[in-house]
């Protein structure tokens, strides 16, 4: 809608061009037959028609002819004309001016329309891109509303999925694809929206949104199914692992106890001793499995709240070694005197280290040792636990930390130890991973360094 100010600018500019053209005519008058210069006023009409439309252009056309008549056609300073054919010339100029202004205005309208459509197409393309980029639909609604507001030429808009009632001082525009109301667009109550644009743009937007809504629904379903599948697989793995890890020692214990108790068996004294020893060691093992299961359930329940304190790495490693018994002699420790302290829960990190050492010793060939080496960094301390065992191919390294890993090759043992180790490491702000090492197994435990107070740091 034309504002008063725009109209005023138009009128003043029109007057300006008429004066300008008149000045040019006055300059050329001595050299050219004056009547032919009337055509120059078309140059005044044309920009006015393009910029302000036909109405003002018509006014300018008439005004131009009057000015031309008054100033340049004899008798000068009168609207009378000495020669009657000059009337015809003026009439022809007027018709040309009207026609040109009508053509210019139409071209202008077409260009505006084309620009509007281009803006709409651009907005749709952008909306499609946004919706396909994989962010959540809710995040995109704000952006889409802004895009739509731009296309409709309103100050601002709000977009909500589904059919929604408007708030106060709002007008609701349904965004419909066919008969289905996909979303509702809210604009200011006062805002005027071009009907044609609305009819053209909103259904396209609705179609896009409908696809996006469908997609996000399918995504959500797929995610849910995947989560269910995983938790199912985990439960199955848990049952199998627990079944195996608890039953193996139980089997050995029951068979040994049975044999000891059976009067029908001819057992030597050393056989009896061996059976008793089996019962003892398998009971210890069973106890350890139960403890690991408890650790794991604590971790999974989020009940393993670490009590973090400053600890020297020597002490943590030392504690873990003391729990290993005779095997501790197979572990070589390299911790430099400058190694900074870490801020962790000592009991939990000892458990991590014990599990790492257990694992490394288990896979080390008899006679070879395990190395524990500390490598201080800027923000974390890395503890390398290196064995000379077979190691693991890269693709199997992550699986090492999955609870209850029991590979298809029928590999025994639940692999609970490393999964618990990673759980505790992460609970303490650390990380645990397997590193490439041609020499054998190589696990790295990164622990956060203690944040020293500024006063101490100096």
């Amino acid at each position: 809608m034309r504002t008063r100010a725009e109209l005023l600018v138009g009128v003043l500019a029109s007057a300006g061009v008429v004066v300008l053209v008149s000045a040019v005519v006055a300059l050329l008058k001595p050299h050219v037959p004056v009547l032919s210069l009337g055509a120059l006023y078309v140059l005044a009409v044309l920009p006015v028609a393009i910029l302000w439309g036909t109405a003002l252009a018509a006014v300018v056309s008439v005004a131009s002819m009057l000015v031309f008549n008054w100033f340049f056609l004899p008798p000068i300073h009168s609207f009378h004309l000495r020669e009657s054919q000059n009337w015809l010339a003026l009439a022809i100029y007027l018709v040309i001016a009207f026609t040109v202004s009508a053509l210019a205005a139409r071209a202008r309208a077409r260009r505006e329309d084309a620009e509007q459509r281009r803006a709409e197409a651009h907005a749709l393309a952008e909306a499609a891109l946004d919706l396909l980029r994989g962010r959540t639909l809710d995040e995109e609604l704000g952006r889409l509303a802004a895009l739509t507001a731009g296309v409709l030429g309103v100050e601002g808009a709000r977009l909500e999925l589904g059919k929604q009632p408007p708030l106060a001082e709002e007008r609701a525009l349904p965004v419909e694809a066919g008969l289905r109301c996909v979303a509702t667009l809210f604009v200011d109550e006062e805002a005027t929206v071009d009907e044609a644009v609305q009819r053209r743009f909103l259904p396209s937007l609705a179609a896009l949104l409908a696809v996006a809504v469908e997609r996000s629904r399918l995504e959500a379903e797929a995610l849910e199914a995947e989560a269910l599948r995983r938790s199912d697989a985990l439960k199955t793995a848990l049952l199998r692992a627990v079944s195996h890890d608890l039953r193996s020692p139980l089997t050995a214990i029951l068979a040994s106890a049975d044999a000891l108790a059976s009067p029908g068996l001819a057992l030597e004294p050393e056989d009896r001793l061996a059976l008793a020893e089996t019962i003892r060691s398998e009971t210890t093992r069973l106890d350890r499995v139960v403890e690991q299961l408890l650790d794991l359930s604590r971790l999974e329940a989020g009940a393993a709240e670490p009590h973090r304190e400053l600890w020297s790495v020597d002490e943590l490693v030392g504690q873990a070694l003391s729990g290993l018994g005779a095997d501790a002699t197979r572990v070589r420790v390299e911790i430099g005197p400058e190694t900074p302290p870490v801020e962790v829960d000592a009991a939990q990190v000892e458990r991590v280290l014990a599990n790492l050492l257990d694992n490394a010793l288990h896979y080390s060939p008899a006679g070879s040792g395990v190395l524990v080496r500390a490598e201080p960094g800027a923000t974390e301390l890395r503890l390398h636990v290196v064995d000379r065992g077979p190691g693991l191919p890269p693709e199997e390294r992550e699986a090492l930390f999955q609870p209850f890993r029991r590979g298809t090759e029928g590999r025994r043992g639940s692999g609970l130890g490393l999964s618990i180790a990673r759980g505790f490491a992460e609970a303490n702000g650390g990380r645990l991973w397997a590193q490439d090492d041609p020499g054998g197994g190589h696990l790295v435990l990164a622990l956060p360094l203690a944040e020293r107070p500024a006063a101490v740091r100096t």
Binding site: S248, A255, A274
Partner: protein, 225 residues
Amino acid sequence: MTRVLVVDDEPQILRALRTSLRGAGYDVETAESAEQALAALAANPPDAVVLDLVLPDGSGTEVTRELRTWSSAPVIVLSVVGDETEKIAALDAGADDYVTKPFGIDELLARLRAALRRVDAPTEPVVEVGGLRIDLEKRAVSVDGKPVQLTPHEFALLRVLAQNPGKLLTHATLLREVWGRGYGDESHYLHVYVSQLRRKLEEDPARPRYILTEPGAGYRLAAPS
């Protein structure tokens, strides 16, 4: 002396079984993996095999299948609850029986004795289990001296069971033996015929004495008296 190969990757179980079986008078050899087991089987064929289902380098099923290509020595598999599919596969591959971990040593010894006895005893033309008498040649069946009329399929089923008295036969084996190839999955046929047989043979079909159910695995005829 009867030689038994015990295969399990758990050293403690191996130790307990070796001691117990030796105490029971068997000559015991042990192996901790499928590879070791196959090597031991080939080097010095045992009279029976006690075989864990899950081995570090393969499954007991594969070992059984391999062994069955050249030996009929009885195989008793050690399974755990949860490994039913694998257990059935091993039995289908030719294993004779199973015990579920944890098991009492007496149970294992009993299964082992029964399996070894079946190998020694040639199939008799007449099988007697308690009051049940099955004459395989004359196709005549009687319970406590009273003759029982069976349909051809019922008799075919009973015959397969009687030819392997005391042995666990899987659903798949029974279906294949009685109905032929292509019926391996239709266990419901089997359940129907077994229940018909029990109604004709058993005093109390709900508490069978002759045709015993191994839940989830198959059926067996009670060991001959």
